[in-house]
């Protein structure tokens, strides 16, 4: 008898332990913690309407910084000439190009987090795709401005477009700049459509649940979506095609950006590793930026139910992996230049390590290698939003420094020692740089209150296909394949 009751006690204890496990798993993983669709709809729509006085004030400040810092300074530069920037012979490219490369890098976040994880069926990425895709579109808009700001005669930029003209000239497609323009335009178009497609059912949801100007806007943007079987099938096909097609476009964009440098005869730039080196660097900074923005957005939009620690942790692991990859490429590039022993190359490396701008170089190594390697192996740190916020912000500072070093640092030394020169950005350049950051945050913030930040239907779909199962004593999530 005694043994009978012991067994029962043991079974009950086991059952309680498993239930506890289940509960923990549910708190951890969004896809096995379902809530009614109506409640999720409400949460997302409330987030879109969360307009506080602080939000408006910040938006106005950012808008003003954009107007004055970016557009006024740009106009000033156009009026008086490129000379108001700090560039000089032989540093013909300065902060503008460094910024261009940086923002193109940030734009890799959306495609990577959204398309690549979608193609590989990384289910956890469902609630964070929208935030990442928005980063792609808006950072590309900012990036696209910089080649124009950089032009000596901006008002003639359309001479690069292949349109019939009185000069009877076709653009020179031998020039990497033409490839660049083509790639960026393709990427901007593609990523905007890729952002829009999964938004359609969310627009329809908003149209059905809201009033006011948003309802009118969503009615137009939802394209008459009713949610019939056929509509879903078309949407799924379109999204699948886009997810696959946008990936090679993403790789091409940053590879071609790197070719702006690698195709030249410049020592230091002329490197066959630049293509993958730039792509890896872009994803490294892009994924870090996604974490930073998710932490901010989750807090200000009160989306803790959707964007959980599990998401931040998974992305933080990606950051660590890409830090390894970036270091590998950096080391390759550095070692070959150093070991090769060409005089000019040596001068460049010496300048980086011991010149007046050496803090930039050491800062890059600190933020891109030392900090991620020293912290992100630790699960506790990977699960701490505050730590992640600081680390990922640091990674982007480091990657920004990398771009400044590659563009302006390498140009200061060349094969003609008489024409070496130092470069210091001018106040106009710095103003435009600050303005570009303000513009990105302005656009992103503005659109978090226009577009539903979380794709509710995708989360809902994920929750329908996931559940908790028990295998003996193990409690795991299981997925039903519905494709």
């Amino acid at each position: 008898m005694a043994s009978e009751s012991t067994r029962r006690d043991w079974q009950e204890g086991q059952e309680a332990a498993l239930a506890h496990e289940e509960q923990k798993l549910r708190e951890e993983v969004l896809l096995v913690d379902p809530r009614p669709r109506s409640e999720m709809n409400r949460m997302v729509l409330e987030a879109v309407q969360r307009i506080t006085p602080g939000y408006i004030a910040l938006l106005v400040v950012l808008g003003l910084i954009t107007l004055v810092g970016l557009f006024f300074a740009w106009g000033y530069q156009m009026r008086w000439g490129m000379g108001v920037a700090g560039i000089r012979r032989p540093v013909f490219w300065g902060m503008y190009i460094a910024n261009f490369v940086f923002w193109i890098g940030i734009s890799h976040s959306g495609t990577f987090v959204s398309a690549i994880l979608r193609v590989f069926k990384a289910e956890y990425s469902r609630p964070i795709t929208r935030g990442a895709e928005m980063m792609t579109t808006f950072s590309l808009m900012v990036a696209g401005l910089f080649p124009l700001i950089h032009l000596g005669r901006t008002w003639r930029f359309y001479w690069m477009l292949p349109i019939p003209n009185q000069r009877e000239l076709w653009p020179n497609f031998h020039s990497p700049l033409m490839w660049d323009m083509t790639a960026i335009f393709t990427y901007l178009t593609g990523s905007t459509l890729y952002l829009y497609l999964p938004l359609i059912p969310d627009f329809a949801m908003g149209r059905d649940h809201m009033t006011g100007w948003r309802q009118k806007l969503y009615r137009v943007l939802a394209l008459g979506w009713r949610g019939t079987e056929e509509e879903w099938r078309h949407l799924m096909t379109a999204m699948k095609i886009f997810a696959f097609v946008i990936i090679p476009v993403m790789f091409s964009v940053h590879t071609i950006v790197s070719w702006d440098f690698a195709m030249t005869m410049k020592v230091g730039w002329r490197s066959s590793i630049f293509g993958p080196y730039f792509v890896v660097g872009a994803i490294f900074s892009g994924v870090s930026a996604v974490i930073t923005m998710l932490i901010i957005a989750r807090r200000s939009l009160k989306l803790h139910y959707f964007i959980r620690t599990e998401h931040l942790e998974s992305l933080a692991l990606l950051v660590l992996i890409f830090s390894f990859a970036w270091t590998y490429f950096f080391f390759n590039d550095f070692l070959v230049e150093w070991y090769g022993g060409e005089r000019v190359g040596h001068e460049i490396l010496t300048l980086q390590a011991r010149g007046p701008a050496a803090p930039l170089w050491y800062g890059m190594l600190f933020f891109n290698i030392l900090v991620p390697w020293a912290t992100l192996w630790n699960k506790r740190i990977r699960r701490s939003p505050t730590a992640l916020f600081l680390i990922t912000l640091g990674v982007n500072i480091g990657m920004y420094l990398e771009r400044v070093i590659i563009v302006t640092g390498f140009l200061q030394r060349n094969r003609m020692p008489f024409d070496w020169g130092e470069y210091n950005p001018s106040i106009v350049e710095m103003s435009i740089v600050v303005g570009s950051f303000a513009m990105f945050f302005f656009l992103y913030m503005l659109f978090t209150r226009i577009l539903p930040y979380v794709p509710v239907w995708e989360v809902h779909e994920g929750q329908l296909t996931h559940r908790i199962v028990r295998f003996g004593r193990a409690v795991v999530t299981a997925r039903t394949n519905v494709d």
Binding site: W80, G81, M82, G83, R88, R89, P90, F92, W93, P147, H150, L151, G152, R153, R156, F157, W159, M160, R167, L169, P171, N172, H174, S175, P176, L177, M178, M181, D260, M263, T264, M265, K266, L411, N414, R415, M416, P417, F418, D419, G421
Partner: protein
């Protein structure tokens, strides 16, 4: 040598600079400023590395004090046969003239990407950072045969293409070939020691063809394969000693 239709004579304009004769007096630089309407930008801009000269005297110090020697080398656009600046321009503002073997810079096409300048191993290109300023009475001496460039565009040595054209047209009118030494760029004309010799390398009897065969000859950064049209002569020590 094939003649493209209606393009006239083929030439290979070449410059030989005898470094053993060069004293670094910078008369060529001054002459170039005057001939080609190169703006004077002032001390402050020059100290920022923004002087606009199309030719510059590079000066290198050799040895330790008190046994110091200065070496000069005038550097200008090398009119490369395979110019790195040409393919990178998105709007054909710089391109190759097959007939004259010159790098042409079309000011009106330039939109100012400055890609060409970054890719020039000789750092021979200059950019108009600001609109040019020719305060009175400097505007009186502007050369009417040369465009005054606006802000935001690239420029560089043209081998005084306006002078080449003038002589070509005159010879064509008089139905005779161009004589050796008839085309003189401003720098060659001004050089007091005749260190700069200019002419057509395709004419085997020209002075330039003769000195180009000198054993003292070398080209700048020749290993890059840019095929420069400027040949430097250098033998012995400085001043030919």
């Amino acid at each position: 040598m094939t003649k493209p239709k209606g393009e006239g004579e083929q030439h290979q304009w070449t410059m030989v600079i005898d470094l053993d004769k060069c004293t670094g007096c910078a008369a060529c630089v001054t002459a170039c400023y005057a001939e080609n309407n190169v703006p004077v930008v002032g001390e402050e801009e020059v100290s920022m590395g923004r002087h606009m000269g199309w030719i510059r005297i590079e000066r290198y110090w050799e040895g330790e004090y008190p046994d110091v020697r200065a070496r000069f080398i005038p550097v200008l656009c090398q009119q490369c046969g395979k110019a790195p600046c040409e393919p990178v321009c998105p709007v054909f503002a710089t391109y190759h003239s097959e007939v004259e073997h010159l790098n042409i810079q079309v000011y009106n096409r330039c939109i100012g990407t400055r890609f060409c300048a970054n890719n020039c191993p000789y750092i021979a290109r200059v950019f108009n950072w600001f609109a040019p300023d020719f305060p009175e009475p400097l505007h009186e001496q502007l050369n009417p045969d040369v465009t005054v460039r606006s802000r935001g565009i690239m420029e560089k040595c043209t081998f005084c293409i306006q002078r080449i054209r003038q002589v070509e047209e005159k010879a064509k009118m008089e139905e005779r070939p161009i004589a050796d030494g008839e085309v003189q760029p401003a720098c060659a004309q001004a050089c007091p020691t005749d260190a700069i010799i200019f002419g057509d390398l395709l004419d085997p009897n020209s002075k330039v063809a003769e000195v180009a065969r000198s054993r003292r000859g070398f080209k700048l950064l020749e290993d890059l394969g840019t095929e420069p049209a400027v040949i430097y002569l250098k033998g012995g020590d400085i001043y030919g000693v």
